[in-house]
Structures are given as C-alpha cells and as structure tokens.
C-alpha cells in the first residue's frame, strides 16, 4: 500500500497542507514582534549616526523626541505623496526598492535631528545611503552638521562583506574616520568624501575630503565611496536649498 502512487500523492498533499498551515500560523503570530524589531533596528541605525547610544537607552523614545523625518525628491522639494497618491512617511520609505529606481524617481528621506532643549534648533540632518559592496549590498546613514557640509557622524551596515576586512565598515573605529570631513570644497563644489586605498592609521595625512582606507578591503571601500558620492549628490539640490535659506 505504501508503494502505490495514490498513497504517495495523498501523503504529500496532507503533509504540504499541515506544514503550510503551521508556517503561516507562525508567521502571523510573530509578525507584530518582527515589525517592532525591524523598526527598532532602523531607528537605532539612524540615531547611531548622530550619537553614541548606550545599552538600555530607550531608543524609540529618543527617536520620537528628537528625530523629525520628511521626504524630498531629486530637486530638493518636499513630497508628501508617492506616485500613486498615497501619503509617505520618511521612516517607512523602502530604501532598497528606491535604490532600484532611477535617481530622478526615487523618494529621498531626510531626518532632522533636533536639539534636546530646543525642538526648533536643528543639530544635524541625517540621510540614508545605499549601494553595493564586494559581495552584497552595503547601506548606512550619514549625518551632516547644521551647516550641511561637515559630517557629524556615519553609521554603516552590510549584508555579506568579509568579516575582519570589508565588514569593518560597521566598526566605530572606521566610522569615526568620517567625523569632521567636508562634502563641499570652499567654493561650494560637491566633492564627496573618498576612502583611499591602503591603511596609514595617521589621521593627519588626510585632507578634508579623504579618509584612511581599510587594508584588504579596497573593493568594499570603492563601493562605500560610490555609495556616498551617488546619494550625497542626489541630495545636493536639497542641501543647497537649505543652505541658501540659512544664508538669508
């Protein structure tokens, strides 16, 4: 009986239904906790670009208190609805999906980091960035001081860079190398910040648009440079607009 085709078909059909049911049930039950975990993770990354978080900090509360997000397009104008007319929220924008679109069609979230004492005073602007590393995607958040030129901090992440080599982009030792670097030159021309090849470990050797490289991770660094250049360039219209407003 166990060799008949009918038995095999019935057996596999029942098994598929049971397994499918169990998995969908688990997925439905765990979904709220997963959504919460992802939200917490995104907010941690955003805040990591501007401040040193301690273990035990109430990340969601700090975020609600001090981060104010909105979305702009490539010309730097604020947009409140997507192409289909649905309202968009800065922290709900899917960076990966936007990365696959043409730069002119992307939605660009901006997160304002406001002062603790004065909610109207902006301490930093945080921009998400996304690109390709050596093995897989890399991403991160870049925070600019209120002059929109000096880097206040960065927080990078990756999907599959080599541990100990390219994966070092997530370490604070590497991220701190970006602090204080400038993305525009004195004439206001966009320069981006470039990580050089080779590792000197001497901060004084680098200009305002350069950072020390990572030994053994040149291709990851190249991806990092391309990512920063592309995204900061896409935000340039917005940045210039704010800088003009500040000047008046």
């Amino acid at each position: 009986m166990r060799l008949s085709n009918t038995y095999i078909i019935v057996f596999t059909a029942i098994m598929t239904i049971i397994i499918g049911g169990a998995l969908s049930l688990a997925n439905q039950l765990l979904k709220p906790a997963q959504t919460r975990a992802i939200k917490l993770d995104t907010r941690t990354q955003i805040l990591n670009a501007v401040m040193d978080l301690q273990e035990g900090d109430d990340i969601l509360a700090i975020y609600d208190d001090r981060i104010d997000g909105f979305v702009v397009n490539i010309s730097g104008d604020e947009i409140t609805a997507d192409s289909k007319g649905n309202p968009i929220q800065a922290d709900k924008v899917n960076i990966i999906r936007n990365f696959k679109k043409k730069p002119e069609e992307r939605e660009y979230p901006v997160f304002k980091f406001t002062s603790k004492d004065d909610p109207l005073k902006i301490e930093a602007y945080i921009f998400p960035v996304y690109g390709n590393g050596l093995w897989n995607n890399i991403f991160g958040f870049v925070a600019l001081e209120s002059d929109l030129n000096t880097i206040k901090g960065v927080s990078f992440g990756h999907v599959g860079e080599t541990p100990g080599l390219g994966a070092r982009i997530t370490e604070s030792e590497i991220e701190d190398r970006y602090i204080g670097k400038k993305i525009f030159d004195n004439q206001g021309k966009f320069m981006s910040v470039t990580m050089l090849k080779g590792e000197k470990k001497d901060p004084s050797m680098f200009g305002p648009h350069e950072v020390d490289g990572m030994s053994g991770a040149t291709i990851t660094a190249r991806g990092l440079n391309a990512m920063l250049k592309e995204y900061l360039h896409d935000y340039e219209a917005f940045i210039k607009k704010i800088q003009r407003q500040e000047a008046i």
């Binding site: 038995y7 057996f11 397994i19 765990l30 975990a37 993770d41 992440g157 541990p163 100990g164």
Partner: protein, 222 residues
C-alpha cells in the same frame, strides 16, 4: 493479586530504563568517537562561517540542536507512514519547516543576531548532519532513541563549533562573548590575529582539533 503481578512482570522486562547503557552510548558516541564534525567531517561549511565570535556560535548551536532533535523525533514518529520513494523530500520538508520556524523566531526576538546569522540559519537545511541522522537513524528507530541520538549529534556539533569559536574570538578579537579578556587582565596592547577572523583561521583551529582528537581516539580513515 497473583494475576496482577503476572501481568506486570513482562511489562517491566521489556521496559528499558531511560538511561540504559545502550542509550548512553547513543548519546555519547557522537560527542567523541563518532563526532559528526571531526570524525564524519560533516557540517564543515557552517562550522567555518559562524565561528568568528562566541555569541552567534552559541545561538547557532542551540538552533542546530533544536532542529536535529525535533526533526529526528518527528521523522521517527512518522517512519512507518513515510512512503519510501519520497522519503528524502519528506525529511527535507520537516527540516525546512523547523529551520524556518527558528529563523522567524530569531527575527522577532533577537533581530541583531538574525542579521548576523540570517543566511546561515537557513543553511541548517543543507547541514549534512541533520539529514544524515534522519536517514541513518530516525527512519529505523523509536522516537525516544531518536531524541537521544539527536541530542548526541547536536551536542557533538555544538561543542566543536563552540571550541573553534572560543579560540577564534580570543585570538582574533581578544574577547570572549564580547568581554575583553586581555584588557581586563591588563594587557591592553594585545595584537589581534587577523587570520583568526578569516575562514582560514577556522580551518586551522578545526584541523588542529581533528588532529588532537584522532590521535586520542586512534581513528584512521579507511
């Protein structure tokens, strides 16, 4: 009264104590003499990939033990129902279901670990140890024995990867479970060995482990 004792005696005779000598061997064999990694050389891929630090390794070890034990149990309970011609795909679906559950739970309750382990938890499905146990043991043995067999193989895998991770994290990052060991004993300038965080380091530690173990057990590949 007499009939009652008569009925009881044969039951006691066939009932094996939970920790009989035979069962202890089922459990202890894979820990040493028949270790899945060092003797059978299975599951090497994950042993290399996730042993950079102790914490992800520990989570991986727990996940593998969970998957092995429960897939052994479920397969063993179903062993008389599974049609022989599709048994491999049935085993695979059982493993895949359990692995997906582990991965979903991790995503919900330990997202930072999910980000580190993500792909590798999914790859437990292709971990030869799990499928090997189902095919070689659970298909032909009772549920209780299969659980013990699963625990044995799971812990056999776990202690090896934890040992590898111990040396890799200690020498490669100077810490154990993210606790800076060398700094706390006052040796702040301990030079981290970059080789250890690379997979090559895992090959070396694992190779030395296999060497030591095979010298002790006298195992020679035929």
């Amino acid at each position: 009264m007499s009939t009652e004792t008569l009925e009881k005696t044969p039951v006691v005779k066939v009932k094996e104590p939970l920790l009989s000598k035979r069962r202890k061997r089922i459990f202890s064999d894979p820990l040493n003499d028949d270790n899945p990694i060092t003797i059978q050389v299975l599951g090497i891929c994950s042993a290399l990939a996730i042993t950079v630090q102790m914490r992800p390794t520990a989570i991986m070890a727990v996940s593998v033990v969970f998957v092995i034990v429960f897939s052994n149990l479920i397969t063993s309970m179903m062993r008389n129902l599974i049609p022989n011609r599709v048994r491999i795909i049935v085993q695979l679906s059982i493993i895949a279901t359990l692995v997906t559950l582990v991965s979903e739970v991790l995503k919900a309750y330990n997202y930072p670990m999910f980000k580190i382990l993500g792909a590798f938890v999914g790859l437990i499905i292709t971990n030869c140890i799990v499928m090997g146990r189902l095919e070689a043991y659970a298909m032909g043995n009772k549920p209780t024995d299969s659980i013990i067999d699963g625990l044995g193989s799971g812990f056999g895998y776990a202690w090896i990867i934890l040992t590898v991770a111990f040396f890799r994290e200690l020498l490669g990052s100077g810490s154990i479970f993210n606790f800076p060991v060398f700094e706390s004993i006052g040796w702040a300038g301990f030079p981290n060995n970059g080789l250890m965080v690379d997979s090559i380091g895992a090959f070396m530690v694992l190779g030395i482990l296999i060497w030591i173990q095979r010298t002790k057990t006298g195992f020679v590949e035929s």
